[in-house]
Amino acid sequence: MKPLVPVSTGARVILGVGFFVLFVAGWGAVTWSGWVPPLFLASPGRTLLAGWSLLTEFGFAGDIGITIFRVVGGFLIAAAIGVPLGLMMGAFKPVEAFFEPFISFARYLPASAFIPLLILWAGVGEAQKLSVIFIGSFFQIVIMVAVIAGATRIDLVEAAYTLGARSRGIVRRVIIPSAAPQVMETLRLVLGWAWTYVIVAELIGATSGIGHMIMDSQRLLDTGQMIFGIVVIGVIGLVTDFLFKALNRKLFPWAAI
């Protein structure tokens, strides 16, 4: 191995899959040998069986669906407001001066700490779940998008001015396209965080969703079901990550990400 020397695609896949295999083998070794009792940790086989029964007997697909809906819904609302606001803050310094201090403060407020309040305000329905995701994602998106837009190359802005662009053209044809790939990267990152908030929101005062299932399984001491729930979240995360990256490559061929 030499520092920073790239690895071939084939080797990358083998190495990446290899660790998954090693991880499951280690998990199997400690459970199948009886070293860790099933009360604390189900074996890979037990976990898969638990998952199968969850899906076939307990309608777990519905839970997965509702959880995805909450994450994506809350995240999309946050992005729909947060991205334009962030772009405006990055582009126009007075707008930034107005919002930035408050948003810097608000982004340190932990979304999970709002759950009791939100239950009080919005009940335990979907509005409360979406609100948790929104609070958790919105301020992060705004601040990161503002930084990205604010870092637009000034020489490109100047070139656009000498070509006759005015403020509107600078924002629409320079700042937005130049920021777009990094904004998408930010959204990918924040969507990952949104998944942690949704589970917390579902652990408290929910009647459906992956988090609710995990909570229920704990009462029954069914570690297989709990682990399966966690693994499902991981798989969904992996898939969305992959989709996001593919979409970015398609949308921004010029950036060579």
């Binding site: 020489d155 490109l156 100047e158 000498t162 070509l163 006759g164 662009a165 044809r173 010029w254």
Partner: protein, 263 residues
């Protein structure tokens, strides 16, 4: 063919000091008139304020005192009547070569078909055929500057401002680009204000060379270049060329030395 006169009258630029540092005088009161169709090179050591002067003409920087006018209209902001090519690569990375060239035209609201015709013309004139759909990152430095030149020309500006446009290119590419620019200027006779620190480049291209002093910059000498157009590379070894070069070198040597010791 341009038909507006550029007048730089008493233009001064002082940069405010950082913190408690004293303000820096970058440009002493400068006067310069550029007639329509002229090719004027501004020659000076690095840090002499020549780029500052050009940025003020472009409207990207404001003078502390004095005024720039283009046919009596004061320059207060950048505009498409003063096209610019920068030393750094400033193509929009998210636009193809053709889209970059059409940027100013689209901004003006020109119909799509007409944009295409204009872009086509300048793609051909700058030798970019076959690269229309390339992304800037796929181009060499020379090709990027060709595109930047085509982008500025497509807008049909009154005056072309070139800020060491070939400064980052290797020697051979730079000479090719000089010939390309000369060819275009000889055909169009568009007013050009060209900033450089390369004496050969200044003589080869311009019909007047303005020498600037070391910081704080001021115009130290104006040297006409009476060599006839069309010019070609063989001129660079002609005795007239050498004589002019000797004169400009004498003018600029002191300034370079001053600049080196001040900095």
């Amino acid at each position: 063919m341009s038909n507006k006169t550029l007048r730089i009258a008493g233009v001064t630029r002082t940069f405010p000091g950082q913190g408690r540092a004293a303000p820096t005088l970058a440009l002493q009161p400068t006067n310069l008139t550029v007639e329509p169709g002229e090719f004027v090179a501004i020659l000076g050591p690095s840090g002499c304020g020549k780029s500052t002067l050009l940025r003020i003409v472009a409207g990207l920087d404001r003078p502390t005192a004095g005024q720039v006018t283009l046919d009596d209209a004061p320059v207060v902001a950048p505009g498409p009547d003063r096209g610019m090519v920068f030393q750094s690569y400033t193509l929009f990375p998210w636009l193809t070569v053709a889209q970059n060239i059409r940027f100013g035209l689209a901004e003006r609201g020109m119909p799509e078909a007409q944009q295409q015709t204009v872009a086509e013309k300048f793609i051909a004139r700058t030798g970019l055929r076959g690269f229309e759909n390339h992304w800037p990152r796929q181009l060499s430095g020379g090709m990027q500057q060709r595109t930047a030149l085509a982008r500025a020309l497509a807008n049909d500006p009154e005056i072309l401002l070139l800020d060491e446009p070939f400064g980052a290119l290797d020697h051979q590419t730079r000479e090719l680009m000089q010939e390309l620019l000369l060819e275009i200027w000889e055909a169009d006779r568009k007013t050009v204000l060209f900033v450089t620190h390369d004496i050969d480049e200044a003589i080869f291209l311009a019909n007047r060379v303005v020498v600037m002093s070391a910081r704080p910059g001021r115009i130290k000498a104006e040297v006409p270049v009476p060599l006839p157009y069309p010019r070609d590379w063989t001129m660079k070894t002609a005795p007239d060329f050498a004589a002019l070069k000797a004169r400009l070198m004498a003018e600029i040597r002191d300034e370079v030395r001053k600049a080196a010791t001040v900095a």
